[in-house]
Amino acid sequence: MDLFPIGGLTRLAKSGKGVVKAVDNVAVAAADDVAEVVGKEGGTIGFRYMTEGELKAIQQSGMLRGGNPGKTYFTKDLYKSGAHAQQRLSLPTTPTLRVEFEILNNPTMRLNGSKVLPDFGMPGNGAEFMTTDPVKVRLINWQPLR
């Protein structure tokens, strides 16, 4: 896969067909059939929906979930409301923040965009990624959720 840094812009490119979407602060990873958004360090970009306590733990440790034991789930889905994120991702609590990050290490992914199943009265249907490895990240931004 070739990387094309585009100073200061994020672009989403697909199959060389010219499907391009400008965002911020990323680079393009071009491949024959697969599109992927990568950060300026070349890592995968994702979102985690959380509360203030986890954001502080990430800022202190540089790791999602503060590097605590247990599997790490994240998504590439963008939700603007905490309730919507909770319902689509089947989360036990309502998140208050959407945190965008770039992965700096190379965790082995056990789930790669799997559909979240309905449970506990929530519809699911979001896409989740999961790893058993610690996830070292660079924070890109965080936004309060409605």
């Binding site: 034991p69 559909k115 506990f120």
Partner: protein, 110 residues
């Protein structure tokens, strides 16, 4: 099934759970496997979550194609609800699911 065998739930969410066994660890026993997709777990201590507490967790597989068959020999990703009523082994699946509060995402293993 060996009812005294200790099982461990390692939580992914809450990301910062603290129990007497340590960070993100809940130890306990399986009280009942209701069916391949529903299991009753009893923690070794009370768990507190958003103003409620209890030691009975109602677990279901989080991922497609996973189930509780041969649970003694594998790990399963689960969603877990804290049961809010007094547990009775004769409760049916609907009673168990409807009377719990979604509490955790984790991995059940031994």
């Amino acid at each position: 099934m060996d009812n005294k065998k200790t099982y461990i739930i390692t939580t992914a969410e809450p990301w910062d759970l603290e129990s007497p066994d340590g960070k993100n660890i809940i130890r306990g026993i399986i009280l009942s496997i209701v069916n391949s997709y529903l299991l009753v777990f009893k923690a070794n201590y009370l768990l507190n979550f958003e103003g409620v507490s209890g030691d009975i967790l109602i677990l279901s597989p989080r991922l497609k194609d996973e189930n509780f068959e041969n649970i003694a020999t594998k790990e399963i990703d689960v969603n877990g609800g804290l049961f809010l009523d007094n547990y009775n082994k004769n409760f049916e699946e609907s009673k168990l699911k409807e009377n719990c509060k979604f509490f955790l995402i984790g991995t059940l293993g031994s």
